[in-house]
Point group: C2
């Protein structure tokens, strides 16, 4: 067994450490010398690229276009939208100078004090302000609407406590920003993008999500409504995996963006914004992986099938390779990513453990005996089941297996999630059980006081008012006051 | 004629202003409120996306993998490679603080003086330092080599005089960084990537380029050799369109990156880096476009074919649309991007001018007469030639025409370039003729003094020692000293 694998912490021992270990050992990412900023390694980045590619297609199919807006935002922009400033003008990286000069020792560099900016610039924590400042120039009449732009970029929020993918100072994301003539159209857009996120999470990542709307406290700073998809990790904690915001006319008013309606009267523009980030990588890892390493859904796996020949001597090596070549070619023709690993500088046992660690969905092994018997060994990573099968028909078997694995991973995560959603009426009961994780469906009186009390006493937060739950009024388990609906309460990442 | 088009400056009147106008009017990009930083608008970004997609494929076909390294670099890293510090530790955006706080008036934000960083961070002007610091952890033995990583990202160099795409403080680019066990392998890699850039420029952008090697003065800071592709714009100036650097062991030594060779002895790693940026957008616009607007090569045009029906009344609208529908479907099946513009809020003349301005390669127009006669009008943007043709067989005609246009754009640019490459022996002659632009093939004595004199007296620089030129020794036209070879001298962007 590979040394790396042996050192992987078990989930049951320390779930959090297991995650941190796995990110490193599976070559997804590593810490950089800059606090809270990570290096995304090629294997990790290949997964992110697949995510991007699919999401980008889904966005464009709705008419969204990509664009690019500046990294740096004038400090004063952040203060223009009153709620936004409270949320984002805090932990920001601030550019104050634009030049270095040689230090007096000749070997070092120092900041040139004469190159001080008149107005400090902020590295974007999110781009509503710079984009709405730009949209002002693009929007004049109802004919200019809707505008639906997205950008794939890096953003920075100076986080004090960071974890790879889940919370980093710099992260990669996409941020969509749309402008509409009517309130209704903007609300529909915000909900449409949430549905795209949910579809992506479930059909591509194999991660079941609950869709819902955030409480006022948990809203995006500057939004009238924040919609969210909430996924459950294997420790029962929630991970907010994507959000879509109905921004009303807040940013249009702050940046004075109006349009002439069909009656030639000026109106403020209606807005949405929506984003998912490299945080999805964390959700993917935490939702499916096991004590042997990553478990990747075939649709996002950089390598979908690995084929390992076991041979003695060059003659057998050539014979096995020749036998396998048509299968490799056929799989590639079908668009399946195959790696044929016949390298002789690692033992088969090392390779097996390594590809398990990397989450390759299907492993094929062929040895001398297989060659004689026209068989091949096939293993699926999600269940670790392996069997020896007839070599003929292996291609269609693999095709079917990849579909099965994608489905099984999702079903397994959904079963886990469904088994850990509890209807709860009693706060004392809640306080005990929340320690074990899970989503708790509880009546809430709608007050910030109750929300704050739950958070303080249990570290759990209101994740959302779920859409797919038939609501009936009841009694708030904390305050005893009347409650109109239930919310999902959970501890979260 | 569209108002926007009427206002487009003519190339002959003011080439520089024509370019600036065109970038704005064709919706490619616009200035942002942050000095020297641009907004890349959806139409411009769609071209950049096509460039990225193709280049990315070409890189990956050579074994390159994408990754992501941090935006921010500790200030001290820049001073570790002696030449690099001279080149890059100058006009950099410097992050000194990580928090804002509310101003005393309650409506503004100010930098929180208590949140000062111990060490200032620089927004990457290029990533050799942070990447080689990372590679140190990845490279131990010859088995770990080669490493071939690329990242698509934003970088920042605080430019004093900026022009959209050509020179901006923030720009988008890709930077490849490879690590090799031998000098030879690294040199081959650097040249291989240059060839990929040249192939991309010529076959995709339709821009002919001269490949060559830079003089020592013009080298990348920290490189032993910088290879370049130089394109000629329509004013006879050179535009450096891509560079690939053989970095020797400079960065490996600065960041102490060694590997154990097959004899188990430590050696420093050999390096290359190579990049192209959104500057290519400038080259594309300047190389082909005319006084009517953009001329885009079909392979990079966001819309390859626009179809405009001219109809009176809804009945004719429907009839023409029904006639055209199978053609639109067929073109889309063939992977050709078609826009059917039957909007009734703009006159046909406006649409014609607008799609010309946007550089759409092929325009089809069908009116009532065409419907009767089974004909259609087809116009090619590169020559502005139009003809009325039989409707039958229009799809294969378009397919062929797109290939023709791609080829013709390249041939036209190549003819222009070849007509403006001069062999020159006389400095006085050179000084007169350089004012009209062009590439001058001149003997150079190889000294920095001569290079500096030419630059000072004529604003022209040595672009490169061209590869595809049979060299014979001669006499330097400036110093009269012996010269081993000729170089390309030109004014440049």
């Amino acid at each position: 067994m590979a040394k790396e694998l042996k050192e992987l912490t078990k989930r049951a021992d320390n779930y959090s450490q297991w995650y941190n270990d796995l990110v490193i050992k599976a070559d997804l990412a590593e810490q950089s010398p800059v606090r809270g900023c990570m290096v995304i390694k090629p294997y990790g980045f290949a997964i992110w690229e697949k995510m991007k590619e699919q999401l980008d297609k889904m966005f464009k199919a709705t008419g969204v276009q990509n664009a690019y807006f500046p990294l740096l935002i004038p400090k004063s922009f952040l203060s223009r939208e009153a709620e936004h400033v409270k949320g984002f003008a805090k932990e920001c990286a601030v550019v104050t100078h634009y030049r270095l000069k040689a230090g007096e020792d000749g070997n070092s560099v120092m900041v040139d004090p004469s190159a001080k900016l008149d107005e400090e610039l902020i590295i974007r924590p999110t781009s509503e302000t710079i984009i709405w400042n730009t949209y002002k120039g693009w929007i004049h009449s109802w004919r200019d609407l809707p505008i639906m732009c997205n950008q794939w970029c890096n953003v920075m929020r100076w986080e004090m406590r960071t974890r790879p993918f889940l919370r980093t100072s710099e992260f990669l994301w996409q941020e969509g920003h749309t402008a509409h003539a009517t309130r209704e159209e903007a609300e529909i857009e915000a909900q449409k993008m949430l549905k795209i996120y949910a579809e992506f999470a479930e059909k591509w990542m194999g991660v079941p999500v609950l869709q819902g709307v955030k409480s006022e406290t948990e809203r995006f700073a500057g939004a009238l409504d924040t919609y969210t998809i909430e996924a459950m990790m294997q420790d029962g904690k929630a991970l907010q995996s994507g959000t879509s915001h109905f921004l009303g006319q807040n940013f249009a008013k702050s940046f004075d963006v109006t349009f002439l309606n069909k009656e030639n009267k000026p109106e403020y523009v209606w807005a949405t914004s929506w984003g998912v980030s490299t945080r999805l990588m964390g959700a993917l890892v935490m939702a499916h992986s096991d004590d042997n390493g990553l478990v990747l859904p075939p649709k996002l796996a950089p390598i979908q099938v690995v084929i390992i020949p076991i041979y003695k001597g060059e003659e057998q090596h050539v014979a096995i390779t020749e036998k396998l070549r048509p299968v490799i070619d056929k799989l590639q023709e079908l668009g399946i990513t195959v790696k044929y690993d016949d390298s002789d500088n690692k033992r088969p046992g090392f390779k097996f453990a390594d590809y398990e660690l990397k989450g390759v969905p299907v492993r094929l092994v062929m040895g001398g005996r297989d060659l004689e018997n026209n068989t091949i060994e096939i293993m699926r990573r999600d269940t670790l089941e392996k069997e020896s099968v007839n070599f003929d028909g292996i291609v269609s078997r693999i095709e079917k297996l990849l579909v099965d694995i994608q489905q099984n991973i999702f079903e397994k995560a959904r079963k886990y999630r469904d088994d850990h959603v509890y209807v709860c009426e009693d706060y004392e009961d809640f306080k005990t059980r929340i320690k074990e994780g899970g989503f708790f469906l509880c009546h809430w009186d709608g007050t910030e006081e109750t929300e704050a009390k739950i958070k303080e006493e249990t570290q759990a937060t209101i994740r959302c008012v779920p859409f797919a739950y038939e609501q009936t009024p009841g009694v708030d388990m904390v305050s005893g006051k009347p409650a109109k609906y239930r919310v999902i309460i959970a501890r979260s990442y």
